[in-house]
């Protein structure tokens, strides 16, 4: 498999997963770089296009979570604080005017760390909980519970912070 072609084909997926998990484009670029360097060294072991995709999703998810664990980004809110704290101080007029999608994206990137990768893989990559469990190497029950919790938190948050959005619907 030709390296350049693989980078061009998958860079958007790799960068986007890292970006949504990390919430920081510089960090996402760094993680994506490392993933491609690692892929370069593993090309001989990647057997098919599906394998490449699975491998990239797995490696970028793990590297992003590792990056968060090393604590090089801003501290996160604990799960119980998240609904109250996150978004406090947002200018309501800005909230009204900014694209709803952007606010949702920001909310995902500030979810408690343990929940982010599963939510990103589910809604960005359109993967099933079973596929996510294989990628994150977690039990299926954990993935399902993280997805449900993440989704509930996002719904609740959108209901309070994006009132205009809720009324429009």
């Amino acid at each position: 498999m030709e390296f350049r072609g693989l980078v061009e084909e998958h860079q958007s997926m790799v960068f986007s997963i890292a970006l949504r998990v990390l919430g920081d484009s510089g960090a996402a670029e760094e993680v994506a770089q490392d993933v491609f360097v690692e892929m370069h060294g593993s090309l001989e072991r990647l057997e098919s296009p599906e394998h490449v995709k699975f491998w990239l999703r797995r490696v970028v998810s793990h590297r992003s979570v590792d990056y968060l664990r090393r604590g090089r980004l801003r501290p996160e809110f604990a799960a119980e604080e998240w609904t109250e704290e996150h978004g406090r101080g947002w200018d309501e007029s800005v909230v009204r005017n900014e694209a709803v999608g952007m606010r949702l994206e920001q909310m995902v990137s500030s979810l408690p760390r343990g929940l982010r990768a599963a939510v990103v893989l589910r809604y960005q990559e359109d993967l099933t909980p079973d596929e996510i469990a294989k990628i994150l190497e977690q039990p299926l029950a954990t993935v399902k519970s993280n997805l449900q919790r993440g989704l509930e938190m996002l719904r609740q948050k959108a209901g309070t912070v994006l009132k205009e959005y809720v009324r429009e619907r």
Partner: protein, 130 residues
């Protein structure tokens, strides 16, 4: 859960979420950077056998020496430490021997002094009798 997630179609909120999380297009400069850094790592590895690592504090990739060199360095360090430790043990043994010899010498000196003292006191007693 979530048979909601597995089987049922997404609701409005989930569809919005999926739309909000559409993949981001990567700028061409970023692609060039991905390709360049991978090529650099590959070339470095082929030329010198060095492996790459990203420091925990972030920043540029670092290249480590060949595993054989790392292994050789580790063995050399262990040998040097071993020699140093051996030398220390020798020194300690020598000090123990010297201390023991000193102790013996002191004991001999003590016994000699006792003998001399006894002889002197016996000579004194004899003179008094005479």
């Amino acid at each position: 859960m979530s048979d909601e997630l597995e089987q049922e179609p997404m609701d409005e909120f989930e569809r919005d979420l999926a739309r909000a999380l559409r993949r981001v297009e990567v700028r061409s400069e970023t692609t060039a950077k991905f390709l360049a850094i991978a090529a650099e790592a590959r070339a470095e590895h082929q030329r010198t056998g060095k492996m790459w690592v990203r420091p925990a504090s972030g920043g540029r990739l670092l290249f480590l020496p060949k595993p054989q060199i790392l292994l050789g360095g580790t063995i050399a360090a262990v040998l040097v430490l071993g020699l140093f430790a051996g030398e220390k043990v020798q020194e300690r043994r020598k000090a123990e021997i010297v201390a023991r010899q000193f102790e013996v010498a002191m004991r001999i000196t003590g016994r000699t002094l006792d003998g001399v003292e006894e002889r002197v006191s016996r000579a004194g007693t004899r003179q008094e009798k005479e």
